[in-house]
């Protein structure tokens, strides 16, 4: 059998939602080997595996397009800050691989070394010393995995089911363990050796840092005005065919500053942090924008959730241009959750319901965006960025 293709016109989808539709198309099914929406004619071209059920795939595509179709209420756009900067025209990704500053070790998994690793640590250092310290944040340390019950309380399963990397041990049965080890010894490991041998799944790899903060404070009544916490965590998000370079990894590192407490305290801190994010972008001379955003909710009620989030300005993102990929990635997000997590985990402040907010730094993609914009040689970076990097290296 030979490969087949489908052509589907994408109509009635707002231009601003095309990128989110393209992202979601990665989850149509395993029989889709490639796809692209042609910006010229608005036609979605889908490459199918031999023998794929065309009608089933066509229906799934139609359902996804409906999810992103234009709505009467629209999507709020708000640009808080924008800055242009001269960027290099080099294949930075290839250079990173050739210098061995990056080695790919699996889908969306990388090892960083050299200047890439140093830059990542410098960004984290700035996140801690300029942001967390400014708010008097307490450091917390979180486990790499998270209880599924916690994710359920956070509504993560219903909002982002596509992200999850579940973990489970082999069954605690000496015969199962011996059979597994013997099978590997007699051949080599393959995923089918896990079939019928896995225990119940109770954990997933943490998709986000701050969930641990809320579950750790379950049932607490905080002293007013509340707490500020910082933590760094290796997080996992499975994103199908969307994984690429360092801009969309499956395993990545997130630094967060989190506020939980009285609304005035949390809202005020977030507003201050928003200003600090813009100040950082100015200082480092980044080619970027700071704008209202929404999560890529993977649900049929995407439009209502995303639009409400935008209307409330509950999510803002510092987006950096990646010149080589003709796209922009969010490197810092600022999120206000209102009472969602306080309510889910029964957290109060002085007896009243607590609200929460956080800012999250995506460290690998932040480092990659900087290298993509300004190249691998710090001497060619904007002055403020270069100074901060040199100061970090001299510590």
């Amino acid at each position: 059998m030979t490969a087949e293709s489908l052509r589907v016109p994408v109509t009635d989808v707002d231009e601003g939602q095309i990128a989110q539709l393209e992202y979601s198309l990665a989850f149509i099914g395993d029989d889709v080997s490639d796809y692209q929406i042609d910006p010229e004619d608005g036609i979605l071209r889908v490459e199918l595996a031999p023998g794929a059920d065309r009608d089933d795939i066509r229906q799934k595509i139609a359902r996804l397009i409906e999810r992103y179709a234009a709505r009467e209420f629209g999507f709020k756009e708000e640009l808080y800050f924008e800055q242009e900067a001269p960027v290099v025209n080099e294949n930075v990704w290839q250079q990173l691989l050739e210098r061995k500053w990056v080695t790919e070790v699996g889908q969306g998994h990388v090892v960083l070394r050299g200047g890439a690793a140093r830059l990542l640590h410098m960004i984290d250092n700035v996140a801690v010393n300029r942001f967390a310290v400014a708010f008097g944040a307490e450091t917390e340390v979180y486990p790499a995995t998270i209880q599924c019950t916690t994710l359920d309380q956070c509504n993560h399963f219903t909002s982002f089911p596509e992200h999850l990397d579940f973990v489970a041990p082999l069954q605690s049965d000496i015969d199962v363990l011996k059979a597994f080890a013997d099978d590997v010894r007699n051949g080599e490991w393959s995923s089918n050796l896990h079939e019928e041998r896995m225990a119940t799944t109770e954990f997933a790899i943490s998709p986000s840092c701050c969930y641990h903060c809320y579950e750790g404070m379950a049932g607490w009544d905080l002293r007013p005005p509340g707490r500020c916490v910082t933590a760094i965590l290796g997080c996992h998000r499975y994103e199908g065919m969307n994984h690429r370079t360092l801009s969309r990894l499956r395993a990545f590192t997130m630094r967060e500053v989190i506020w939980v407490g009285h609304p005035k305290f949390v809202i005020g801190a977030r507003a201050k942090a928003d200003g600090m994010i813009v100040e950082l972008a100015r200082r480092w001379g980044l080619h970027c924008s700071y704008e209202v955003a929404n999560d890529m909710f993977f649900t049929k009620d995407y439009a209502v959730k995303a639009s409400f989030q935008r209307q409330q300005e509950a999510k803002k993102e510092l987006r950096l241009i990646i010149p080589q990929e003709d796209t922009a990635v969010s490197v810092i997000s600022s999120n206000f959750h209102a009472g969602s997590f306080g309510s889910a985990f029964d957290i109060t402040v002085g007896g009243r319901p607590a609200v929460s907010a956080c800012i999250g730094f995506g460290l690998e993609r932040f480092a990659y965006a900087i290298l993509s914009q300004f190249g691998l040689d710090p001497d060619g970076w904007p002055e403020g960025l270069r100074r901060d990097y040199q100061a970090f290296r001299s510590q």
């Binding site: 709505r71 009467e72 209420f73 709020k76 639009s307 209307q311 209102a338 309510s343 009243r352 609200v355």
Partner: protein, 87 residues
């Protein structure tokens, strides 16, 4: 129905349903009910149903995005305007 009376009725519902203390110093008619954590997304559905039934007005999905409906005063203003056919 004038705006002040509508606001009192909405306040009474919010206080009772979402267990707002009578002496809560934050709570007033201009307080952002969602930002301040008094009403979450599920509570918003209940509040919408209460307003629709009590004031005999229809609130569509688009209204949440076209009009500010975050405070008691904003909701009361919307109710009066809709009853009068202004919006």
């Amino acid at each position: 129905m004038d705006k002040a009376n509508a606001a009192k009725i909405i306040e009474s519902f919010v206080r009772q349903r979402f267990q707002v203390d009578q002496d809560d110093p934050d709570f007033d008619h201009d307080l952002h009910l969602f930002d301040y954590g008094y009403v979450d997304s599920f509570g918003a559905v209940e509040l919408t149903q209460f307003v629709e039934v009590t004031f005999a007005v229809k609130i569509g999905d688009a209204d949440f995005f076209l009009y500010p409906l975050n405070t008691i005063n904003e909701i009361a203003h919307f109710v009066v305007q809709r009853q009068q056919g202004v919006i």
